[in-house]
């Protein structure tokens, strides 16, 4: 699966990327991280508040800096 971090390079987006990497490592889910920094692509996915997190193209969270634990829950939900 692909975990996508949507953001135009602000400090919070970088933190969300780190949290997602940690969540993937902790859960052991077979996932690849992807950064989406192009504003047009971000808006095309329906996101207006960054940072956002999507799994396989489906937006799960917007405008929030999720904790690794919260991301882990989303990852497990996407697997099952």
């Amino acid at each position: 699966m692909v975990v996508q971090i949507l953001g135009t390079g602000c400090a919070k987006c970088k933190k969300l990327h780190e949290a997602a990497a940690q969540a993937v490592a902790e859960t052991g889910v077979d996932a690849r991280l992807e950064k989406i920094e192009d504003v047009q692509q971000i808006v095309a996915m329906g996101v207006m508040m960054t940072p956002a997190l999507a799994i396989d193209g489906a937006v799960k969270s917007m405008g929030k800096l999720l904790t690794p634990t919260e991301i882990a829950t989303l990852l497990r939900g996407a697997v099952s």
């Binding site: 996915m45 508040m49 969270s61």
Partner: protein, 349 residues
């Protein structure tokens, strides 16, 4: 284990309302005894002389820092919960296809309650415009959202009183409404980068309506951690500088060049404010001390609005979607509105 976790969660859900009531009661008690406590600390515990310059500065600091931080925590928590009912998507659907005038009024009001971060200004602009929200209405939103924010209002309320906070709220909203309406009337769509209109915004299907109450109070706590956690050093630093000015700068010093008689002080304050990029928290306590020494309220408010609402980083971010002519018009119209407010206050207050 899953059952134990569920049981614990249910137990904590039952205790939570009780904790909330106790918390608010404790907050209220402490808040109402702050003045006495700060005096006891300054003149009793620290043994400073009443009426001395150092004593005046220290008392000011010991009273204002906890007062402002307590107000900030409570309001940011409440606003965090209120904002969990509003999302950029809901605001967009409320504004899409709305006529001008009505749209501008609604956009400015929604700008206050919709969660906003200046780093999201471009995706928000694109999302709004591509969904058919008129340009001027979108700009009304983008003016109100940063200018009329809870941190600015709390600081104004805590340091100047409710009248000034209410004046700031209403004139800030008015500037956002009128400036957006004027830009809409000018039909400046040709100065929006052409690619903006060539693509469509998507939908996520996420819905904020499905949040539980626990999730909403969690959003309140997150807001406190995020906002108060970020601005408290500025509050402390700002009040420390303010306390220094309070005790040491002579009365009336500011009156000569920031007083109400100097008409040029308002445009000068706006001109100085635009390139400054600070949050409300750092600027207001200093501004309060200036006001106490004879600076005029209108001049001070104009300075503050210019600092918060117009900034060079914002112009650079918006440059990706707007031509320089439109950015210049946008800044010009908003700056004119801020100056009008400054002069108005200097004339009537």
């Amino acid at each position: 284990m899953a059952m134990a976790t569920t049981a614990r969660r249910e137990a904590s859900a039952a205790i939570r309302p009780l904790l909330a009531v106790l918390g608010v009661a404790g907050w209220y008690l402490l808040y109402h005894h702050l003045l006495g406590l700060s005096r006891a600390l300054t003149y009793g515990l620290l043994g400073l002389a009443q009426g001395s310059r150092l004593g005046a500065s220290v008392e000011f600091f010991c009273y204002d820092v906890p007062k402002v931080l307590m107000l900030l925590t409570l309001i940011v928590y409440g606003v965090g919960i209120v904002r969990s009912y509003f999302s950029a998507e809901r605001t967009r659907s409320l504004l899409a296809g709305r006529r001008e005038a009505v749209g501008n009024v609604l956009a400015a009001l929604l700008g206050v309650v919709t969660p906003f971060c200046s780093c999201s200004a471009v995706p928000l602009f694109l999302g709004f415009v591509q969904a058919g929200v008129p340009l001027g209405v979108t700009l009304s939103f983008l003016i109100a959202a940063p200018m009329v924010n809870e941190v600015a209002l709390v600081l104004l309320f805590g340091l100047f009183g409710w009248r000034v906070a209410a004046l700031y709220l209403s004139t800030g909203l008015l500037i956002a409404m009128v400036a957006g309406w004027i830009i809409g009337r000018l039909k400046l769509e040709r100065w929006v980068e052409p690619w903006v209109y060539q693509v469509g915004a998507g939908q996520t299907g996420l819905s904020p309506d499905l949040m539980t109450w626990t999730e909403r109070t969690q959003a309140g706590r997150d807001a406190v951690r995020e906002i108060v956690g970020k601005v408290w050093p500025y509050v402390v630093l700002g009040i420390a500088v303010g306390a220094g000015i309070h005790g040491y700068v002579p009365e009336g010093l500011m009156a000569s060049f920031m007083g109400r008689d100097a008409w040029w002080s308002v445009p000068l304050a706006v001109l100085l404010g635009v390139p400054m990029y600070a949050n409300a928290a750092g600027i207001i306590p200093i501004v309060q001390a200036l006001l106490g020494k004879g600076a005029a309220l209108g001049t001070v408010l104009a300075f503050m609005m210019a600092v918060i609402a117009l900034s060079l980083p914002e112009a650079i971010i918006l440059r990706r979607v707007l031509r320089p002519q439109l950015i210049a018009t946008f800044f010009g119209v908003v700056a004119a509105g801020i100056m009008a407010v400054g002069w108005l206050f200097n004339a009537i207050v």
